[in-house]
Symmetry: C2
């Protein structure tokens, strides 16, 4: 599915590496004269330095800020942090595509907003409906199936749908520097989690192949799920009703619910990640708080305080006040997408 | 805290063993002439045989029913499966103790049921209030604190409270055969999860030390949690409102939500585990479904179809029809509690 899929799949076998790294492997970061750059797509500079310094101090046995492997929890937002999110969240594009697929079963949608606008490709009219329109579309397109059916629908879409600007598969629009960071963290005993406002089941269908993050390390928003017996066999049915919104205050709540430990590293890109960063920062010992700042209109997109999608305002202010790492895409990333890395 | 604590703590370091077992370790079960009995507290017989046979077939590389380590998910109920649950759920005893502690701050409880009954040690009057009385007490005693405060309250209680019949710490009233089973599964590449109707935060405070199960592998019932800034620092506050009931249909729902993979082994002891067993059984390939049948009035308790706490009726019928493993405590367990094992 993913162009680097065959390269990424071995990560499955690395998932539990942390605890069993022997000295020779753990020195990836700790070795002063290391041969290989673990983050080749990052330019030298303060962001790369702050990441490598953090990994070094928490993995240095006997050091004042050493953190045992089981507590090396790293959480990452997804939209805008691990992959792009413009012109708007890719999951919403999935939902709009899905409205068109389902339209034949819903003749009433032809005259009913926000579906009418979607079917007529009238994006302005759709967006005029605001949050309610988005929620209506998400609910109508994400419920009603069994969990197995929904997974297959997502897999089919993600294997074929193309981004309107790049023409690439959405799974190609992941950030090469962040893939390297995820891998470097895992090689240094971290467990990497996704903590996203996106749908938990939408992500779980593909993130293991693409990011090397297994389903049990994916936290996201969810609708309700019900258990039913159908023809004597149990199924889980997706009920079109919001259960949990894993955004803003929901992120530390979701982290606590799913992991039960406070992360020592958190990476986001928007105000939706602000509380997750605050929660991470408030723990004792060494901490790393990072933001991806979308400054690159040429290779990706440039937006921050005024953007509707991925607004970065309050968190950016606090990051600068408190010295969190703000990644400047133009300055810090030699490469943005994997296809540029060859 | 736990008498076997120092013995159990090394399990922390074993949590991720599965993936990295080399051939020489993985043969714990697979070796025909194995030197050490991995389940010394289990009597020879059909239950022990069925467990060992299952582990053997799913760990035999090249075998028809081999399961890769990442899919070796084992789920265990807690109350009545990993520790005792009589005279009633230990968490409810915690809640009743907590009513007495909090009574000074709630003078109104002296005249208000179900609190009045609890304060007067009138168990009959309390139980006459049924599920509502229990829920009222749980809500009144489990909310209002920060998550950190609640953890400390549980830790203090579990380190000191004593069971009314045995006089033992509650963490001593865990089942030695099940501790051995958890350890054997982990040594054979399984990840062991708790899936309990009990409170997720009540359990997470102590199960890592006692069972070797880390917080992120504990699934349970929960109340709501809110994020707040207090004096500039973020806290998570426990809101006295039920969020999720991880029992009956809730168990497969919780498994799907937290793990996102279907287990290949499930162990319970009551009808509250029925749907979890059905969900596990409905997957493809080798499966193990087990029930602890409390048949031992002498060493533990004897109860099943008529019991209010831990009723085992429909699940027992289905287990017998479908050939699931029903552990007969009298017949199958040489030892029940760790203190008998010496």
């Amino acid at each position: 599915m993913h162009p680097r899929g065959s390269q990424l799949l071995p990560w499955r076998t690395l998932l539990c590496t942390p605890v069993f790294l022997d000295e020779s492997e753990a020195i990836l970061i700790n070795q002063p004269g290391m041969q290989t750059d673990p983050l080749p797509s990052w330019n030298e500079g303060p962001s790369k330095e702050s990441i490598l310094r953090f990994i070094e101090v928490v993995t240095t046995e006997g050091g004042a800020e050493f953190v045992p492997p089981l507590d090396r929890i790293a959480v990452f937002d997804n939209d805008g942090t691990l992959w792009s999110e413009k012109p708007f969240y890719f999951q919403l594009i999935f939902a709009l595509d899905r409205v068109k697929t389902l339209a034949a079963q819903h003749p009433e949608w032809r005259d009913q907003q926000p579906f009418k606008a979607v079917l007529e490709d009238d994006l302005a009219a759709f967006l005029a409906g605001g949050t309610k329109a988005i929620l209506d579309v998400l609910i109508a397109t994400h419920g009603g199936n069994t969990t197995d059916e929904f997974e297959q629908i997502v897999l089919d879409w993600i294997a074929s749908a193309r981004h309107p600007r790049t023409g690439r598969l959405y799974t190609e629009m992941v950030f090469q520097p962040m893939l390297e960071l995820l891998e470097t963290l895992r090689a240094n005993g971290f467990r990497t989690y996704i903590v996203s406002g996106g749908g938990i089941e939408f992500m779980r269908a593909w993130v293991e192949d693409v990011y090397g993050i297994p389903p049990e390390q994916v936290i996201g928003s969810s609708i309700e799920t019900g258990f039913e017996m159908r023809d004597g066999s149990p199924v889980l049915v997706r009920i079109p009703k919001v259960d949990f919104v894993d955004d803003n205050e929901g992120k530390p709540v979701g982290i606590h619910r799913f992991i039960g430990r406070r992360p020592i590293l958190a990476f986001g890109n928007s105000d939706g990640d602000h509380q997750m960063l605050q929660w991470t920062a408030a723990g004792g010992g060494a901490r790393f708080m990072g933001l991806v700042h979308h400054t690159d209109a040429e290779r990706e997109w440039a937006y921050d305080r005024e953007s509707l999608v991925g607004r970065l305002d309050k968190a950016l202010t606090e990051a600068r006040e408190r010295g969190w790492t703000v990644v400047d895409m133009v300055r810090d990333w030699r490469v943005v997408y994997p296809w540029e890395a060859v």
